[in-house]
Subunit: 391 residues, 2 copies
Amino acid sequence: LVVRSPEAFREKQGIDARVLQKVSEIDLRQKQVQGEDLKTGKTWKEPFDQLLIATGAASIRPPIPGIDAKGVYELNTLQSGIEVRRAMDEKNPRHIVIIGGGYIGLEMAENFIHRGIGVTIVEKTPQVMNTLDPDMAALLIKPLEEAGVKLYLNESLKAFEITAGEVREVMTDRRILPADLVLLGLGVRPNSALAQMAGIPLGKTGGIRVNDRMKTEVKGVWAAGNCAESFHLVSHRPFYVALGTVANKQGRVAGINIAGGRAVFPGVVGTAMVKVFSLEVARTGLQEKEILELGLPFVTAKIDAYTRARYYPGTGPLTVKILAEKGTGRLLGGQIVGKEGAGKRIDTLAAALHAGLIVEDLINLDLGYSPPFSAVWDPVQIAARQAAGQV
Amino acid sequence: LVVRSPEAFREKQGIDARVLQKVSEIDLRQKQVQGEDLKTGKTWKEPFDQLLIATGAASIRPPIPGIDAKGVYELNTLQSGIEVRRAMDEKNPRHIVIIGGGYIGLEMAENFIHRGIGVTIVEKTPQVMNTLDPDMAALLIKPLEEAGVKLYLNESLKAFEITAGEVREVMTDRRILPADLVLLGLGVRPNSALAQMAGIPLGKTGGIRVNDRMKTEVKGVWAAGNCAESFHLVSHRPFYVALGTVANKQGRVAGINIAGGRAVFPGVVGTAMVKVFSLEVARTGLQEKEILELGLPFVTAKIDAYTRARYYPGTGPLTVKILAEKGTGRLLGGQIVGKEGAGKRIDTLAAALHAGLIVEDLINLDLGYSPPFSAVWDPVQIAARQAAGQV
């Protein structure tokens, strides 16, 4: 445990937090869990009245030859981060290949480049950041390449070449890349197998199905965090997202309810942010492909503006894209790529999605203005104005 | 005209924009305006079908002896800004006294200090920034003093000492201050006298009374911008605020409606921002004294947090205060003071006020998170959590 030690849990809160214990089974009939002490090897059983499953998520590791060799890392836990850092310090790698151009891949690319190491990203789809629409993701290509990142899009990982137990090369469907360190950034999936084995229903997303109080479909059993599903407040469908923000909110709600209180977690709108070198990237709501899947008619508006007043020192360009339902004008989503100060504007759109606002409402929002912070019309409102003209 | 010249209006938009014309009377019975060409001195009359009054605001100038002397400036128009700058360049003042500790006073103090000149602010109330609660405004005192600004609170301007037509000293009710340049930052009032003389009703705020389409109570007459009232969406009362954001929105709505379209400007929530040296200051909704006036029961929550993840380079402290209605939990207002990245978080609260959210909703907003931009719980949510515990 990192943020709070088992001792602090015990002394400050009267919570018996046991670490290095692996739970192997949940027995719903007898209302007990079975596990093993990883230090002593002893097995144990523990009865419960209420059970919270918070098993988190695991990195996706495709069954590719050599994936378990030395030199192939993932980044999902603090421990895995420590291991990557140790490899950087001790092995002094010269060629790093990152598999996957998502959040983790791009963030790690930046940090590897800062340490002066050549980085290649292999991404099987035609774009980085698949949570952005292609036109917005395209804004990241030039900055990434200018920073020294080599990008191979539309290219699939096939195998790793291993010598003496260590990775040496990455083979894609198009080329062979030298690699003395490989980082897997292929996303995560919910760690829900333990729950599933016990007979606790999962959703189609693979996450544990919960209601808005974080209760599973089994009496007395709750789930929260990256092992559980969320509800998407824009698509009105179950949704899986593995983010600390969502996990924290779910944990709070589960805790209040388990302790006899009453709290609800209505769901998410799909907000996410990442820093990619000097660019801030943010998205919320539904992107084009999600809206197409739902079959909703929609309009898009995309504008270029500035993070501060155009004439103010330190101002920088940003691009805002807004998606709205045709006919009603209901905001469906938004994406922002731009310089310092751009990204957190996504919060205005996220709040608007929670509230079910239409783009005309966005135009009239009384947002903060002063030349060091914004133009008179905030960029999200300029985009909303353009969208309103098409709705 | 600054942003667009009369020629551009004529050529690009077919609008006959006449400058240096002073309107002396609006004749509602004959549906015409009378005016004077300020260059030729010729008077003229112009009939109208629809009339838009957009006369803006004027600086408040109390009838104090010497206020019209050389060396006493205000800052309300571009021209007045040019005059202050010229005085700085030509007179090279050594002692500047600013009357009023509001937005203009504080922004100008910063700029004078940057030019290496001693600045004294005289403010008659016990605090700077009267749009903040006293406890939040107090956060600005130390940074202002450390930057070299001398602050005299609870002190009233009595007179100016004039020698050879130029200001030399400022006399308050407590002391005499040397001054070779005085800046008045006493706020503005709506320029609504012309409308009032014509019989167009004003509101209690002194602004021209308009409906949500920006129509006055006289058929065919509209008003927009700093001469007009707004409606406050939290207090549900008429409200006067002289800000470019509001003026722009009102102008857009008035224009659409006059041209035969249909648009509404529902109102404002009282958002405002200012940079005070390295601090970002923002407020929205109602402050304590406004809530007390309305007689609403309320709770306050005030928290200290960070602009980015606590451990992230460039993170800085910020303070967020939230006010919510006791019982219902309805958000009533918020105030933020903090380092770079703090201020624009006010937009989340502004959007929440527009949507009528309760603090529990705020806790569950899916706001943007990544360590360069925020902690897992955005500071406005930490404040909301504290408020929710008291509601």
